[in-house]
């Protein structure tokens, strides 16, 4: 039994997980009744709700009144996924999705949107008994992620931060978490913001107002240069801690990337041809369910690209400006994935753009490059490796700025993706490109790095190239550099160096995953409490999906990390 000490703000610490405050949302009254009974039997405190609207207002009313939300996917007044996003962004609560439909694509979508679990109806009691782990995990991750983000490798911090955990909690042998988090073990105790972990438990509610301040600060600093500390300073909110900002930033990035992807998809919906080269390569997969890619069978292929584009698009949008360029936070991961794969020949230039934008953004969040929705049918390594096939239909745009960060995670990864024949980068990113490129400044990389440190060298690899390639965005070379063999990489690189890297990174992650490196896990876990999704098995079957471009029907799973970026966008 796990005892949390002071980690939870709720007063039921001692008996945890008993007394867990659950909010159940389902339009089916029969299920509502059943779930209520089941949860009560688990000794949880249950509140039921038949409408998503009501649920949201309940949550907003009592900011700290619930520990976890369980929601059905199909509801009349609001899409369950949307609710999921809102909850994740506004309240930062773990959300479990439910549905009678267990189709992989739906589940993926759930994960992409940030669900920490997806239950199939009919639901068993034993499934509900374990939901407390999501709450617990999230708490742990919050601490960990924030620290990582900050690049604070300070073990000390971890220590102090984790003292709470260690002492009070029976981490179930998870002491490694702190150590793991601080992978780099640099022990840079640099930022003492993360003072007392216990204090951070008070959940920060990101009101519209607060979020506005946040966004303003971000824009002021320049998306590519943001860091939690800077934002915090600018925001000038005394009670806000760096951790708060850091985790919010992660989400924001994910959100942006998701938006970007969506918009990318819309924009770049040009010819998402699957097999067609370049320009339109199935990038359309964004949101396209199996993008026309010729690789029809490979759902992964097609869909992944979406995520990327979307993220890119979103990032742009988020910038709050019409001009997409700003989307620095683009979930870089996405583009990468898609790009790499498809980018093989055609898209070299294009693809990179797209993904990079996203990648950059997402890097922080956790490198969820998964969004490879390569539209290209080319059978990506999905089968072999969870490569992300990004088929981005980017038009070959020459990234002016070079997405500098084409963080090509290990080229090897890319290789795997080799199939990415086409990473068409959507033209949408043109704007992005320029902007992104700029934004994808080293700062972004830095962001990425934190992740890395957390995760591992993997990231490092990825990021390194990015910085290097930063300026070379324009050239395909960048991609080349990053993406070793994959042409895709090249393509992607053109676009947003970062984007690509992310993708690659994601791939890398994936690959790692497959290989049991476990890297990806870290990334994804970043602040995803859905770490459980990171189980390799899952990864194996679904290439990392880039940011959850939920919009994409391709329903690829987004790497949880990526998803975070998208999350951020929700506020916007």
């Amino acid at each position: 039994m796990v005892f949390l000490e002071g980690g939870f703000s709720s007063p039921r610490n001692d008996a945890f997980p008993a007394g867990l405050r659950v909010l159940v949302v389902d339009d089916d009254p029969t299920w509502l009744k059943i779930l209520e009974k089941m949860l009560k039997k688990c000794s949880y405190e249950v509140t039921t709700c038949g409408l998503a609207r009501d649920a949201l207002s309940l949550l907003r009313e009592r900011k700290d009144g619930y520990d976890i939300v369980i929601s059905d996917v199909n509801m009349p007044d609001m899409d369950g996924f949307k609710l999921l996003e809102h909850v994740g962004l506004e309240m930062d609560l773990p959300v479990i999705m439910m549905s009678v439909d267990g189709e992989t694509s739906r589940v993926m979508k759930g994960v992409q949107h940030g669900a920490c679990d997806y239950l199939l109806k009919p639901i068993r009691m034993k499934e509900l008994r374990n939901i407390w782990q999501h709450v617990f995990r999230k708490k742990i991750h919050e601490v960990r992620d924030i620290e990582s983000l900050e690049g604070i490798e300070s073990i000390q911090l971890t220590r102090s931060g984790c003292d709470l955990f260690d002492d009070g909690y029976f981490l179930g042998g998870d002491d490694t978490t702190s150590g793991r988090k601080r992978k780099d073990a640099d022990n840079k105790h640099e930022d003492r913001d993360l003072t007392d972990p216990s204090t951070k438990k008070a959940r920060v509610v990101w009101t519209v107002d607060l979020h506005q301040k946040f966004v303003r600060a971000v824009n002021q600093i320049g998306f590519d240069k943001v860091g939690p500390k800077k934002i915090l300073d600018l925001m000038n909110v005394p009670w806000l801690t760096r951790e708060n900002v850091a985790s919010h930033l992660q989400k924001y990035r994910l959100y942006l990337s998701r938006l970007q992807k969506e918009s990318d998809i819309k924009n770049s919906f040009i010819g998402m041809k699957h097999t067609d080269p370049p320009s339109k390569d199935s990038t359309a997969s964004f949101g396209l369910h199996k993008p026309r890619n010729t690789m029809p069978d490979d759902v992964l292929n097609g869909t992944y690209s979406f995520s990327m584009s979307n993220s890119l698009a979103q990032s742009v949008d988020l910038k709050g400006q019409a001009d997409r360029n700003g989307i620095t936070s683009v979930p870089m991961a996405e583009p990468k994935g898609a790009l790499s794969k498809d980018i093989s020949d055609s898209q070299k230039t294009k693809s990179s753009q797209m993904s990079f934008d996203h990648s950059l953004g997402s890097v922080d969040s956790g490198v969820s490059f998964a969004s490879f929705g390569s539209t290209n049918p080319s059978p990506y390594s999905w089968t072999d490796i969870p490569e992300i096939q990004f088929k981005q239909e980017y038009e070959p745009f020459q990234p002016e700025n070079g997405f500098n960060q084409l963080p090509l995670p290990e080229p090897s990864m890319i290789e795997k993706d080799v199939n990415r024949s086409r990473t068409e980068v959507k033209p949408l990113f043109d704007e992005y490109r320029s902007n992104l490129v700029e934004h994808l400044s080293p700062a972004d990389l830095v962001d990425l790095f934190p992740v890395q440190s957390k995760n591992q060298t993997l990231k490092n690899q990825v990021f390194n190239p990015i910085s290097a390639t930063k300026s070379s965005m324009k050239t395909k070379d960048i991609s080349q550099n990053c993406l070793a063999d994959s042409e895709f990489a090249q393509r992607n690189m053109n676009a947003a160096g970062i984007g690509v890297p992310l993708a690659s990174l994601s791939e890398d992650l994936q690959i790692c995953w497959l290989q049991g490196d476990g890297y990806p896990m870290n990334f994804a876990l970043q602040d995803f409490e859905c770490s459980e999704y990171n189980n390799p098995a899952l990864i194996a079957e679904t290439p990392f999906y880039l940011f959850g471009a939920p919009r994409f029907d391709h329903e690829h799973l987004l790497d949880p990390t990526e998803y975070f970026a998208i999350d951020q966008g929700l506020f916007a």
Partner: protein, 145 residues
């Protein structure tokens, strides 16, 4: 009478009318909610009846709006899964397949079948609960293996 009840119950499972979910409901029944199962079933029939009506109306409009039909059936299926209505669920699944393949004829046929199963189950369950009430407030079921 208990034995009768048990037999009736067992046959419901053996004949495929109910599945494991029903057992879950039975396990939830306790002193705090001594009639839990019956309450849930009643709730189910009330709520799902509404969905059936919607589907019927939708089937009257030509051409069929398959997406809508599919959505309704998805809802219905979810509901039916709550009480473990096995046969009904199976028909729902089939109906959705027909929706996806845009087979109007198939939809109609399946829907008729579904309604039959739906009604049959209701009858059987009503009889079962009635007997259960007569048999007394005792654990009515030994969980089937």
């Amino acid at each position: 009478m208990r034995r009768q009840l048990q037999t009736m119950r067992k046959s419901l499972f053996d004949q495929g009318y109910l599945d494991e979910q029903f057992v879950q409901l039975e396990e939830l029944q306790d002193d705090a909610n001594p009639n839990f199962v019956e309450e849930v079933v009643t709730l189910y029939y009330r709520d799902s009846g509404r969905i059936i009506l919607n589907i019927e109306q939708a089937l009257e409009r030509k051409p069929f709006d398959f997406n809508k039909l599919d959505a309704y059936m998805h809802q219905f299926k979810g509901s039916s899964s709550s009480i473990g209505a096995k046969k009904v669920k199976a028909e729902s699944t089939l109906f959705r397949e027909y929706c996806r393949s845009r087979n109007g004829e198939g939809c109609m046929r399946t829907f008729q079948q579904l309604k039959k199963e739906y009604a049959t189950l209701r009858r059987k369950l009503e009889a079962y609960f009635q007997l259960a009430r007569q048999a007394g407030p005792v654990e009515t079921a030994c969980r089937p293996k």
